[in-house]
Amino acid sequence: MTIICRVVLLTLTFFCLATPVLALESAVDPAARISELEAQNQKLHQQLRQARRQLAVTRSSEQEPGWQQIFGGVGVIFGLCGIGMMISARKQQKN
């Protein structure tokens, strides 16, 4: 009986002592947790920004004109010039 009593008392005291400690721990925990989460958030944010930057770089490099466009454009210009010269030559021939 006494043993049971002692055990009960001990457990009671243990819990009485433990609860404030646990409460204390949980009171301390949020701040640390928040800072930890914030650090994590910042890290993720940085990674996201990096990914965005890479995406923008890829996009701009995709939009950059290639050799086909450049030479195609130059060809169009000279072709139009040729048509203009042809028209003027015909006019001169008629005259």
Binding site: P65, I70, G73, V74, I77, G84
Partner: protein, 206 residues
């Protein structure tokens, strides 16, 4: 220095289209058929020049050369720039199709002005021609930055803010343009000086 789609109000965009179409017609009429190869070469140069990116500090700038095109082509410059800009717009997605008229005015008017200035003040001396060429190259870029500010101001932006921004961003371009124009003019003076004697006539020749 390009105006994108949807920045300008519709009326302004349409007005710019009409104005640039009118100037383009005038420019086509002023173009002599014997100048056509020169026009084509300078159009191609203008078309490609914007792809030449020069690293400058943290960013890179690209050439615009409206001043050089104007100085070498005179009245035909607007035609050359119109053709070059249409192709840039279609192939490189520089600026939008709806803003093409405004972009044309922005590049073409400085070119015409540069042509007029070069024709009036080029004189006969070699040094003077080089200096006037540099002035045309730099001045045309400044003028087009100002025109950009005017056009954006019509879309509701603050004129002085945009003007300051555009001019500030283009200070290196202005310097490089002036240098490139001076170099091209001095080179042409050496190898083919008659190419610089383009008449800037307002009237139709008989």
């Amino acid at each position: 220095m390009h105006i994108s789609d949807g920045v300008l109000p519709t009326t302004i965009a349409l007005g710019c289209y009409a104005a640039s179409a009118a100037i383009c017609t005038w420019s086509v009429k002023r173009t002599r058929s014997e100048d056509l190869p020169k026009v084509a070469v300078l159009t191609a140069a203008f078309f490609v020049a914007s792809l030449v990116h020069l690293p400058f500090g943290p960013t890179s700038v690209h050439l615009l050369i409206p001043g050089l095109v104007g100085a070498l082509l005179g009245p035909s410059a607007f035609l050359a720039i119109a053709l070059g800009l249409v192709l840039q717009c279609l192939l490189f997605q520089f600026g939008g199709l709806t803003a093409l008229g405004a972009n044309l005015l922005m590049m073409g008017l400085p070119a015409l002005l540069a042509g007029l200035v070069f024709y009036r003040f080029k004189g006969t001396g070699r040094k003077q021609r080089i200096w006037v060429g540099a002035l045309c190259g730099g001045g045309a870029t400044i003028f087009s930055a100002l025109l950009l500010a005017v056009l954006l101001a019509s879309g509701g932006e603050d004129f002085y803010g945009v003007a300051k921004l555009a001019l500030g961003a283009h200070i290196p371009v202005v310097l490089i343009e002036a240098g490139v124009s001076a170099m091209v003019v001095s080179f042409l003076l050496k190898v083919k000086p008659e190419i610089l004697d383009i008449p800037f006539v307002m009237k139709e020749k008989p």
